[in-house]
Symmetry: C2
Subunit: 434 residues, 2 copies
């Protein structure tokens, strides 16, 4: 790492910190953040569909009528009113639970952090999909987990591969701690785990005594279908469910939640207390008051329409401009997963794409091993449809010129400092270059 010799604390860091390094892609995104670049990289939700006047009034009321709770320290488990609201949201994924069973967190990312903290020792195995959510890989790595990718198709993880992997890893003397799944409109593939697969995964995890971590931020964002039942509803003792208001309301509040078996829940609360004392009372009361005072399910329907239109714009543009690529056709969520034409490396191409005024996330970011080189993740959540079309058009032009170069010079072109693993979270563009 450059600059190490100038760091007088070099040598004083923890072992786990040595894996925390900034990536070349991160630096590039600072440039990609310029307005002339169409970013198909970030996972930022659209906020235009929010009823802003109502939301402003909710925020004001949280201060005026509720300051003694909203501006004060709260419990580490989270605000009781917010937890009550969560039980209502959970009905949509066929879960009936009690507010006492809910733990509120600083976004569902913090739930994942706390869960990994209490479950994973260095070298313990976490099984994940192929590809898997970059932010989850970052947490697992930060606790020095051994991440093992399993075969995944359009219906989700291959259940039999779970059994094979668990046994293989145990034979190697490793402890298999968790199976991590994003079951609805997965980030980055856009795929949804079928109901049969859900049942089978729950069954296998119960039999093999592997904790099933169900990370479900996109449950409500199916374009033409209601959510499937959560795996948590099939076996609350085997599954930890993570929920989020970042996609259906606002990520700026950092409000998520966890449902977990009793003993795990108790440890999560203690870990949360050590980590942040308590989640933001204001954020929680704000969300709870929004949910209680607006017809939020109708609002979510509006959101689905917005995202469906953007998904359509993206697929139409891909059909038109990038027919040589193949890509998923997601039925919800924010992302499509693109397999580039033969021989093109998504990470290596990124600098030229940014030069061509379009940004995406290279597929390598969604793997802890050497997969993903031929893939990129394209987001349709944030830019309006005409920008999406323009972005894909630019991307296609970059791909075309890559193909031309390859034809002229062959394999001599594949080396690039970016054609390596990506270890940062790239769901939002950094707003700083520091």
């Amino acid at each position: 790492m450059a600059g190490t010799r100038l760091d007088r604390w070099h040598g004083a860091y923890s072992r786990r910190a040595s894996g925390m390094t900034a990536s070349a892609i991160r630096a590039l995104f600072a440039v990609a953040n310029r307005p002339e670049v169409v970013s198909l990289a970030g996972g930022m939700p659209t906020l235009e569909a929010l009823p802003l006047d109502d939301v402003a009034e909710v925020a004001a009321r949280c201060v005026r009528d509720d300051y003694a709770a909203s501006l004060q320290y709260g419990s580490a488990q989270g605000d009781p009113v917010a937890r009550e609201q969560v039980t209502d949201v959970m009905r949509d994924v066929a879960v009936s639970c009690h507010p006492d069973e809910v733990v509120m967190t600083t976004g569902s990312q913090h739930a994942l952090d706390l869960l990994t903290r209490i479950m994973v020792d260095p070298g313990d195995v976490v099984l994940v999909e192929s590809p898997s959510y970059v932010g989850a890989l970052g947490v697992f790595r930060s606790y020095e987990a051994a991440i093992v990718h399993l075969p995944t198709d359009h219906a989700g993880l291959d259940p039999e591969a779970v059994v094979t992997a668990v046994r293989r890893e145990r034979d190697r003397g490793r402890r298999v701690k968790a199976l991590y799944v994003v079951p609805h409109h997965q980030n980055p593939s856009g795929g949804t785990t079928s109901i049969e697969r859900r049942q089978r995964l729950v069954e296998l995890c119960r039999e093999e005594r592997v904790l099933l971590v169900e990370d479900d931020p996109y449950a409500h964002l199916g374009f033409s279908s209601d959510p499937l039942p959560a795996m948590q509803s099939m076996d609350p003792e085997t599954v930890v469910y993570l929920g989020s208001f970042s996609k259906t309301f606002a990520p700026g509040l950092r409000v998520g939640w966890v449902l977990a078996p009793t003993a795990i829940r108790a440890k999560l609360v203690l870990a949360a207390e050590a980590s942040v004392l308590c989640p933001s009372a204001f954020g929680q009361r704000f969300v709870a008051s929004y949910l209680a005072s607006t017809d939020w399910r109708s609002r979510v329907k509006v959101l689905r329409e917005v995202y469906r239109e953007r998904r359509d714009a993206m697929l139409e543009a891909l059909d038109r401009y990038l027919p040589a690529a193949s890509y998923t056709r997601p039925a919800g969520g924010f992302f499509t997963w693109v397999d580039l034409p033969d021989g093109i490396d998504g990470a290596a191409m990124l600098p030229r794409a940014v030069q061509g005024r379009v940004a995406y996330v290279p597929g390598t970011a969604f793997f802890d091993d050497d997969q993903g080189g031929s893939h990129v993740r394209l987001s349709f959540c944030f830019p309006p449809p005409e920008r999406i079309t323009e972005g894909v058009r630019r991307l296609a032009a970059v791909v075309d010129s890559e193909l031309e170069l390859r034809e002229a010079f062959g394999d001599a072109l594949t080396d690039s400092p970016l054609a390596t693993h990506e270890h940062g979270n790239v769901d939002r563009p950094p707003t700083d270059t520091t």
Copy 2:
């Protein structure tokens, strides 16, 4: 731990999770939370002095005029506008810094969590005051640090003891990673580290290459004096400074910050990203907008008056009702540290105190070793003066009856399940019993 045999995940937890256990005192606080109990236990700031109409308008404006930033994901380092405001706040402790040097966090507790994560391997030594902040001890323990208490007097830590301890621990083959200090109106002693001690501690830490962690939430809450210069101002390469808006504005927003040497800062940002993606943009913009639009320094002066009056009420009541005890006379902050009359164990007495309708935090909570048994922490921050007086009167009655019992039965009374270490954070009363 009770219930372990019912936990099907027993044996699947990480090693660090085994130290996370709920305490007997925690259960007692659920009872202490009843309105008839005067709580001198919590470290909750008063919120009555806030200009609520103005604050409500700030919250509404953050939505109406600023939703694209405040409700969206932000950078892991924190919002640039909030970081700019922090540089202004830092001038009061003689620090001049650039917004690029500031990292915003989910309260300063999360700063401490992230810092420990990047610095401390299991078994590494963290040096702390005697007594030390219970929340910091909780974080250090959660990363399996070896906590070493050093002699501390009214002017702060004994600097020569730092050198002795560093050498002794190194001779034992341990790595000494940090010295943790709360320099203004310490929690729980109320003491302030003198300017001479500050200079000496910085010097020694630089020489011994030990990171000095300066946790400074009470800097602005001196009753009759301005803050002393931060140790960070004396050597920015040796000191990490943690600041908080929880005491001067509102803890419900969970907004704190860190100033750290460049290389440590970069790692803190990466660790923050893995942990929560980014701190709440809404919380940060809310605080920044409050600071920018109100004369917050005048508001802090009002707060100081409120707390000074409460401190006076507490000291007068202690002088009057508990003359057999000795206690600190803090010049700021939230707490006084009481040495109970001979032979009384603060932890063992707590159940009887709660029965007598008064609560406090036993001194053992502020130590990782076997010290603190004869001490209790009393908070004067939250209850109004007449409740403080009444609380101390009740406490004195409980102490008197303990003394009578001791006179009658002697040492046979010291055993209690509560006369043990307290491993939870007790700066706020839990609002749930789950």
